[in-house]
């Protein structure tokens, strides 16, 4: 499946991926409203880890056998059989955060529910990839497992 891959040698630590992810997952989809005024505050699904010397945007690997899906006690966390995308059904999620505890990559964020990357399911390309100024994020099917 197509996933987002981070190229740490090109990552600028500018963290614009976080800004655009937050905007893409906001109510208003407006960069200023989303980042300044919206309540509850939208959560960025991607996190840039590191410093100016070495950094990379860390986001969900959409594992082949996801630990978060196995651990979910309500069945809210699920892996789409067709697309392979791991996503949270917010109607079922009770916010117990068991998924957060088991994710080996630290890719689940806390909000009212468990919050995680959905690869911008309704768009052609995830917002983080589209807006990376240095092509440090690549959306591609490179094969291989998790």
């Amino acid at each position: 499946m197509k996933k987002v891959y981070a190229k740490e040698e090109l990552c600028l630590n500018c963290r614009l991926c976080e800004v655009y992810c937050k905007t893409a997952h906001s109510q208003s989809k407006d960069i200023i409203k989303a980042n300044k005024f919206e309540s509850p505050e939208p959560v960025s699904r991607v996190t840039v880890c590191g410093d100016k010397m070495l950094s990379a945007a860390v986001n969900c690997r959409h594992c082949d056998s996801p630990k978060c899906v196995e651990a979910c006690i309500t069945g809210a966390m699920q892996k789409d059989k067709k697309t392979g995308i791991v996503w949270v059904d917010e109607d079922k999620c009770i916010g117990c955060m068991t998924c957060l505890a088991v994710c080996p990559f630290g890719c689940i964020k806390t909000g009212k529910f468990a919050v995680k990357c959905d690869l911008c399911r309704t768009e052609d390309e995830p917002a983080c990839v589209k807006n990376c100024p240095n092509r440090a994020l690549v959306y591609a099917d490179l094969g291989g497992g998790e």
Binding site: L12, C14, R15, L16, I31, I32, R135
Partner: protein, 501 residues
């Protein structure tokens, strides 16, 4: 704290309504103008170190930043302008030679802007380059005086080595050291895809660029950095750098802090040592000495590589060019005084040399008068801002043009003229790894290619308008040029008529 004496140059204005405190500016500014308040969230700005490189402006996702000129009036004085007063204060503080990057910003006449091009009307047809073939292929190298053929029509002339370019535009010398490897790699990739050449400067050839040796001009300069047999072999032609337009008569100095492991390997000098290129070549004190070096380089490469001599445009440039041609140079590159540099003494950059337009016209005319023009190729350098400048240069007699500043601007350079500080926020004129990685060759080679392809289209359009379908028919065709607002003497040197004549 001592008094600064010099007001700051720019003010960074942050629009609080638009700023989302994402901190992108804080993490991008290598001059550390932007910073966080104690809460770790609110972005603040101190403009004192701002050089107007626009990195923060261009990266800001909401357009919340703007750079303004900081206006602080001095009592008016046409002689003691604020600039001179500030430069005196800077020297009073440091005791040093003033250094600057890029070309001179002084308002010397730009003759390109005073030359107009011709177009066909009625008596000869113009050509539509989209529908008819238009040749801009350029061939550099010494041409034989005459062609002799055997009975079957096969040439019996021993043809000197030629260099075929798909465009009359080449990338001028910028060494690895003065610019980053990513910047040089972008140019190399673009040169390969465009069918033209990039120039190693005198920084040697980095192993990462070995795939691009067939589009490399390797430079042999006074410091002889990185010169060895394989370096000379792995090239399309060899260039002996005698002078540079931005700093004629001056050598080069790459400070030790820029000489990291990679640069030291490419230049074959110890890590951290200053790379000093002497002002003269210590083995060239005459045309005869130059002849020896040209001969040696040709011998070292089995006469397979043309040898170019790059000289700065100075007062006797025509005579010097003639001497270089007679010393055996196959190509002569003349660099005008508006040409760029990584670092030059400000006084030299702003006061020494002559414009490329006059130097080119004078050299071309002299070589023609002496009947040796066809024995060499002339390359013009020194600030070509658009395709029209290139067309005018070719019509004045250039075979090809060297461009560097324009491709750098395509890669993000904003002409902030602080290349010498090594803090280039665009990853061009720096060796700091966190800044170098900002320049992704995969993106930048595309941008440079786009620029040159756009210029190629424009050159073809302009030539088509003149009714010329080959760049060879444009070369030295000064009838296609007319001066506007120039004196008799200027017209005489340029060898062109005044508009209306």
């Amino acid at each position: 704290m001592s008094i600064n004496y010099i007001p700051r140059r720019f003010t960074v204005v942050r629009d609080k309504e638009l700023c989302i405190n994402c901190g992108c500016c804080v993490r991008q500014c290598s001059n550390e103008c932007h910073y966080f308040a104690d809460d770790g969230k609110t972005a603040l700005v101190n403009s004192n170190a701002c050089v107007a490189c626009h990195r923060c402006v261009d990266m800001c996702p909401t357009g919340a930043l703007r750079i303004e000129k900081y206006v602080c009036d001095y009592r008016e004085n046409a002689n003691w302008t604020p600039q001179y007063q500030q430069e005196i204060c800077r020297q009073a503080a440091t005791g040093g030679v003033l250094l600057s990057g890029m070309g001179t910003p002084k308002p010397y006449p730009i003759y390109w802007d005073k030359i107009l091009l011709n177009a066909s009307q009625v008596t000869n047809p113009s050509i539509d380059p989209l529908r008819e073939p238009m040749e801009i292929r350029t061939i550099l190298g010494r041409k034989p005086e005459k062609i002799t053929v055997e009975k079957k029509g096969k040439s019996t002339v021993d043809m000197p080595p030629q260099v075929i370019l798909e465009t009359p535009i080449m990338f001028s010398a910028m060494s690895f050291g003065s610019i980053s490897l990513n910047a040089q790699k972008s140019l190399a990739m673009a040169a390969k895809n465009l069918g033209t050449l990039f120039n190693t400067g005198e920084g040697g050839l980095h192993p990462d660029l070995r795939d691009y040796t067939d589009c490399a001009i390797v430079q042999v300069a006074s410091g002889r950095f990185g010169v060895h047999k394989d370096y000379l072999q792995n090239s399309r032609f060899i260039e002996i750098k005698i002078g540079q337009g931005a700093k004629p008569g001056i050598g080069g100095h790459l400070p030790g802090e820029k000489v990291n492991v990679e640069v030291s390997n490419a230049r074959m000098i110890p890590e951290g040592s200053d790379a000093i290129s002497p002002a003269p070549h210590h083995d060239i004190y005459s045309i005869e000495d130059l002849r020896q070096l040209i001969w040696s380089l040709k011998q070292a490469t089995h006469n397979e590589k043309p040898v170019s001599v790059k000289i700065a445009a100075v007062h006797n440039v025509a005579a010097i060019a003639s001497g270089c041609a007679r010393a055996g140079a196959d190509i002569i590159a003349i660099d005008g005084f508006r040409g760029g540099t990584g670092a030059a003494p400000t006084r030299i950059r702003d006061n020494v040399g002559i414009p490329i337009e006059l130097a080119l016209a004078a050299a071309d005319q002299r070589l023609r008068d002496e009947g040796i023009r066809s024995s060499i190729s002339l390359v013009a350098a020194g600030s070509f801002r658009c395709s029209a400048d290139i067309v005018k240069a070719i019509a004045l007699g250039a075979d090809a043009c060297y461009c560097a500043s324009a491709p750098l601007i395509a890669m993000g350079c904003h002409m902030c003229q602080t290349c010498n500080t090594g803090k280039c926020n665009w990853g061009i004129a720096t060796q700091r790894p966190e800044l170098v990685k900002r320049l992704n060759p995969d993106i930048m080679h595309e941008r440079v290619e786009n620029l040159i392809n756009a210029w190629n289209h424009e050159i073809k359009e302009i030539m088509g308008g003149m009714g010329i379908n080959s760049v060879d028919s444009l070369r030295g065709n000064r009838l296609m040029l007319r001066g506007i607002g120039l004196t008799e003497k200027e017209l005489e040197i340029l060898g062109i008529k005044h508009a209306g004549e």
